[in-house]
C-alpha cells in the first residue's frame, strides 16, 4: 500500500509565496514580505521533512498523478511527481539549504528597495527547482529546468540598473540556451525511439533494448546530448563561462542558485538518467573527461582570482566537475553524495563571503581585506569550517564525499588512474586556493580604508546603506543560517561512513555498485593509501597557502613575476571569454549586421515592400493622365472600349 504524500504541495507552496509577494509585495511592509517569503518555503521544508520521516524504502518509487497534460496519439506526458531515494535527497537539500538562505536574505537584503521582488524571485526559483527534482518525466523536468534558468536570469540581473549585472544575466541565459538545445534534441530522440518521456517507461525500455552496436550508438548519442544540457546548466567545459559572471547577482543568490542547488541540476539529471548512461560507456567516458577537465581547469583559474566571489565561483565549477567525474566513472551515488555535502559547505562559503562583504561595506576585492578575524569572529569561524570541509580535511563533510569520488575514480567500473591523478592534483589546488582565500581575508593587516568602505556603499545598493566605520559583524538573522550550515558541513559527511549513503541510494544505482564490489574487498588497503594521499594533499595545500600568504606574504608577487606569461594567462582566465568572443560572438554579430540586417532585412525585405509601393505609384502616375478633363478624350476611350468589346464578340462569333 502506498501512503499518500500530497507531494504537489511542496512545489506549490513557494509558488504561492512568489505570487503573493510578486503581486502585493510592493504595497506591503517589509515585515509582511519577510513573513510571506519565509513562511511558504518553510512550510515546503516542513512538508518535505514530514515526507522524509514517513516514507519507507519499499514504497519507493512513489508516483503521484496530478493532471493530464499532453496527450498526442499514443504519446502522453502528465503533470505527475516521482519520489525515490534520489529525489528525496535532492528535495531535502533544496528545501533545507534553500530555507536557510531565505532566512539569511532577510538580513542581507533588508535595505534593498527591491526587497519584495527579491523574495518573489527566490520563491519562484524554489518552485521551479522543486518541480525539476520531483518531476516524473523529462518534459516536466524540462519545465523546471527552464524555470530555474529564468529565475537565475532574473536574480543575476537583480540590480538591473547596473550594466554588468544586466549583461551577466543575459550571458547566463544565452549560454544555458545552447545547452538546452542539446538537451531538447536528446528528449526528441527519446520520444522518437521510446515514445515516452516518463522516467519509469523510458528506463524499462532502455534496459530491454537488445544489445548491439545500434543500441549503443543510439544511447551514446542521447547520453551525450543530455550531457550537453547538463554542461550548460552545471557550468562545465565548454559552457562554464556564465557562472563566474553570474556573481553579479546578490550573494544569497550566488549561494542558493549558483552553488547549492540549480547548478547541480545537471548532475541530478545525469544521475537520474543513469540507466541510459550505463548502457552507453562512451557517453560515460565523455562525462568523466568533461568533469575531470573542468575540475582541474577551473581550480587553476581559482588560484589567481582576487574577487572573493569569483574564487568561490570557480571553486563551484571545479567541484561540479568532481561530481561529473564521479558520474562518469559510474559512481553516481558518490556524485550525489558530493552534491549534498557541496550544497552545505559551498552554500556556507557563499553566505559567509556575503557576511564578509557586508562587514566591509560592499568590497569584494580580497586584497583590500585582511585581518578581519577579530572584527567578525563568527563569520570567520563558520567560513573556516567550510574551508576545512571543502579542502577535504577529515572528518568534515567534504572529505568523505571527495574521497569517495577519488576512490571511485580509481576503482569504479569505468575509472582509471588518469582521473584519479588529475583529481588529486585538483584536490591540492582546491585546498590551496581556499586557504589562500581564508588567509587573505581574515589574517594579516586590514587593508581596506574605512572612509573608502563608506564611500563605496552607493555602488552596491543591496545592503549597507548605513554608514561604515569599522568592519562589523552581521546581524543574528544572517549568522544563524551560517551556524546551521557550519554544523551540517561538520557532520554532513558522516552519513557516508560505512557506505550508508551509498546503500540508501542502492535501490537506484545498485546495478553499478555490485559489479564493482568484488574488486573492492581485494583493495581495501589501496583505499586507505589513497585516502592518506588525499588528506596529505589537503594539508599540503594548507601549508603552501600558509607559507605564501601568512608567513611570507612577499613571495606570491615574486612567484607571479617569475611565471610571467602563465600568471597573466591565469589571471585573465586563460582568455576563454575573449576566445569565445572572437570565435562565436563576433562572427555572429558581424554576420547579423552585414548579412542579416544590411543584406537580408534592408536589401530583400525592405526593398521588396518599398519597390512594390514605388511601382504602384509610378503606374498610377502614368494612368492618371487618361483622366484629362477633356470630354472628347473620354468619349474616345469609351468608343475604343466599345469597339474592343464588339471586335471581341465578332471574333467569338467567327470562332464558333
Amino acid at each position: 500500500m502506498n501512503p499518500f504524500f500530497n507531494l504537489w504541495l511542496i512545489p506549490i507552496l513557494p509558488l504561492a509565496g512568489a505570487a503573493i509577494n510578486g503581486f502585493f509585495g510592493k504595497r506591503s511592509s517589509k515585515q509582511t514580505v519577510s513573513v510571506v517569503g519565509l513562511l511558504f518555503p518553510g512550510a515546503a521544508l516542513a512538508w518535505a521533512l514530514w515526507v522524509a520521516a514517513h516514507f519507507s524504502s519499499p514504497s519507493l518509487p512513489y508516483q503521484e498523478f496530478i493532471a493530464h497534460w499532453i496527450r498526442s496519439g499514443s504519446f502522453t506526458a502528465d503533470f505527475a511527481l516521482y519520489l525515490d531515494q534520489l529525489s528525496l535527497v535532492m528535495l531535502l537539500v533544496v528545501t533545507g539549504v534553500g530555507f536557510l538562505i531565505h532566512i539569511y536574505s532577510v538580513g542581507y537584503m533588508w535595505d534593498d528597495p527591491g526587497y519584495y521582488r527579491f523574495f518573489a524571485y527566490l520563491n519562484l526559483f524554489m518552485f521551479f527547482m522543486l518541480t525539476l527534482v520531483l518531476a516524473n518525466n523529462y518534459l516536466l523536468m524540462f519545465i523546471g529546468w527552464e524555470g530555474v534558468g529564468l529565475a537565475s536570469y532574473l536574480l543575476i540581473g537583480f540590480w538591473f540598473t547596473k550594466d554588468s549585472a544586466a549583461s551577466a544575466g543575459k550571458k547566463a541565459f544565452i549560454v544555458n540556451r545552447i545547452g538546452d538545445f542539446g538537451f531538447l534534441i536528446g528528449l526528441f530522440l527519446l520520444i522518437q525511439h521510446f515514445n515516452s518521456l516518463d522516467f519509469a517507461k523510458v528506463f524499462v525500455s532502455v534496459t530491454h533494448l537488445p544489445a548491439g552496436a545500434g543500441t549503443e550508438s543510439l544511447l551514446t548519442t542521447i547520453g551525450i546530448l543530455l550531457m550537453v544540457g547538463a554542461c550548460g546548466k552545471s557550468a562545465q567545459i565548454p559552457l562554464y563561462v556564465w557562472l563566474p559572471d553570474a556573481m553579479e547577482g546578490p550573494t544569497p543568490v550566488s549561494a542558493l542558485i549558483h552553488a547549492a542547488t540549480m547548478v547541480t541540476a545537471g548532475v541530478y539529471m545525469v544521475a537520474r538518467s543513469h540507466v541510459i548512461f550505463e548502457r552507453a560507456p562512451s557517453a560515460l567516458t565523455v562525462v568523466a573527461i568533461i568533469g575531470t577537465l573542468t575540475a582541474f581547469f577551473a581550480a587553476t583559474i581559482g588560484i589567481a582570482q582576487t574577487d572573493i566571489k569569483k574564487v568561490l565561483a570557480y571553486s563551484t565549477v571545479s567541484q561540479l566537475g568532481y561530481m561529473f567525474m564521479a558520474c562518469g566513472v559510474g559512481a553516481f551515488s558518490a556524485g550525489i553524495f558530493h552534491l549534498m555535502t557541496h550544497a552545505f559547505f559551498k552554500g556556507l562559503l557563499f553566505l559567509a563571503a556575503g557576511s564578509v562583504i557586508h562587514a566591509v561595506g560592499g568590497e569584494q576585492d580580497m586584497r583590500k581585506m585582511g585581518g578581519l578575524r577579530s572584527y567578525i569572529p563568527w563569520t570567520f569561524l563558520t567560513m573556516g569550517i567550510a574551508t576545512l570541509a571543502i579542502a577535504g580535511i577529515p572528518p568534515l563533510a567534504g572529505f568523505w564525499s571527495k574521497d569517495e569520488i577519488l576512490w571511485k575514480a580509481y576503482s569504479g567500473p569505468h575509472g582509471s588512474w588518469v582521473f584519479w591523478r588529475i583529481g588529486i592534483v585538483t584536490a591540492f589546488i582546491t585546498s590551496f586556493y581556499m586557504f589562500r582565500l581564508l588567509f587573505m581575508t581574515f589574517f594579516g593587516e586590514y587593508h581596506g580604508s574605512k572612509v573608502d568602505a563608506h564611500g563605496r556603499v552607493s555602488r552596491r545598493r543591496g545592503h549597507d546603506n548605513h554608514a561604515h566605520g569599522e568592519p562589523h559583524e552581521s546581524p543574528m538573522v544572517m549568522l544563524v543560517p551560517l551556524m546551521i550550515l557550519a554544523v551540517l558541513s561538520l557532520v554532513g559527511g558522516l552519513v557516508g561512513i560505512g557506505n550508508r549513503f551509498e546503500d540508501f541510494l542502492a535501490p537506484l544505482f545498485g546495478s553499478v555498485e555490485v559489479s564493482e564490489a568484488a574488486g573492492e574487498t581485494a583493495s581495501r588497503f589501496a583505499e586507505y593509501v589513497l585516502m592518506g594521499v588525499s588528506i596529505g594533499v589537503a594539508i599540503l595545500g594548507f601549508i603552501l597557502a600558509y607559507v605564501l600568504y601568512v608567513s611570507r606574504p612577499y613571495l606570491p608577487q615574486r612567484i607571479a613575476d617569475s611565471l610571467n606569461g602563465l600568471y597573466v594567462a591565469v589571471v585573465n582566465k586563460y582568455y576563454v571569454d575573449e576566445l569565445y568572443a572572437s570565435l562565436f560572438v563576433k562572427p555572429l554579430i558581424d554576420g547579423s549586421t552585414h548579412i542579416l540586417w544590411q543584406g537580408v532585412d534592408r536589401k530583400v525585405i525592405d526593398d521588396t515592400v518599398n519597390n512594390a509601393a514605388d511601382g504602384a505609384r509610378h503606374v498610377s502616375d502614368e494612368v492618371r493622365h487618361m483622366q484629362s478633363g477633356n470630354v472628347r478624350s473620354y468619349a474616345g476611350w469609351i468608343a475604343a472600349g466599345a469597339a474592343g468589346v464588339i471586335a471581341y464578340m465578332v471574333w467569338l462569333g467567327v470562332g464558333r
Binding site: R624, Q627, S628, G629, N630, V631, R632, A635, G636, A639
Partner: protein, 100 residues
C-alpha cells in the same frame, strides 16, 4: 420587301456619323446633335429588328429611347446654357475642369 441588312447598314452609318461628330466637333451644341444622331441610329436598328421578327419589344424600346432623349435634350440644353453663362464659351476643350 427591303432586306434587314439594308436597315442595319444605314443604322450603322448613322451611328458612325454621330460618333465621329461627337469625337471631332468642339461645339457643345453640335456634339449634342451628334448624340441624337447616334440614338436615332440605334432606334432604326430596333424597329428594323422588330419588323423582321414580328416582335413589338423593339418598338417599345424605341419609345423609351425617345422619351429619354427628350428628357436628355431638356436637361442637356439647360446645362449648356448654364455652361455658357459661367464660362462664356461653348468650346468643349475649354470645359475641362472634370479631372484629377
Amino acid at each position: 420587301m427591303v432586306p434587314l441588312s439594308y436597315y442595319l447598314v444605314l443604322s450603322g452609318i448613322l451611328f458612325s456619323c454621330g460618333m465621329v461628330g461627337f469625337l471631332i466637333k468642339r461645339n457643345i451644341i453640335t456634339i449634342f446633335m451628334s448624340i441624337e444622331l447616334m440614338l436615332n441610329g440605334v432606334n432604326l436598328s430596333f424597329v428594323a429588328f422588330a419588323a423582321h421578327w414580328h416582335s413589338l419589344a423593339g418598338q417599345v424600346f424605341v419609345f423609351f429611347v425617345m422619351v429619354v432623349a427628350a428628357a436628355e435634350a431638356a436637361v442637356g440644353l439647360a446645362i449648356i446654357i448654364a455652361v455658357y453663362r459661367t464660362r462664356e464659351t461653348l468650346n468643349i476643350d475649354q470645359v475641362n475642369l472634370l479631372k484629377l
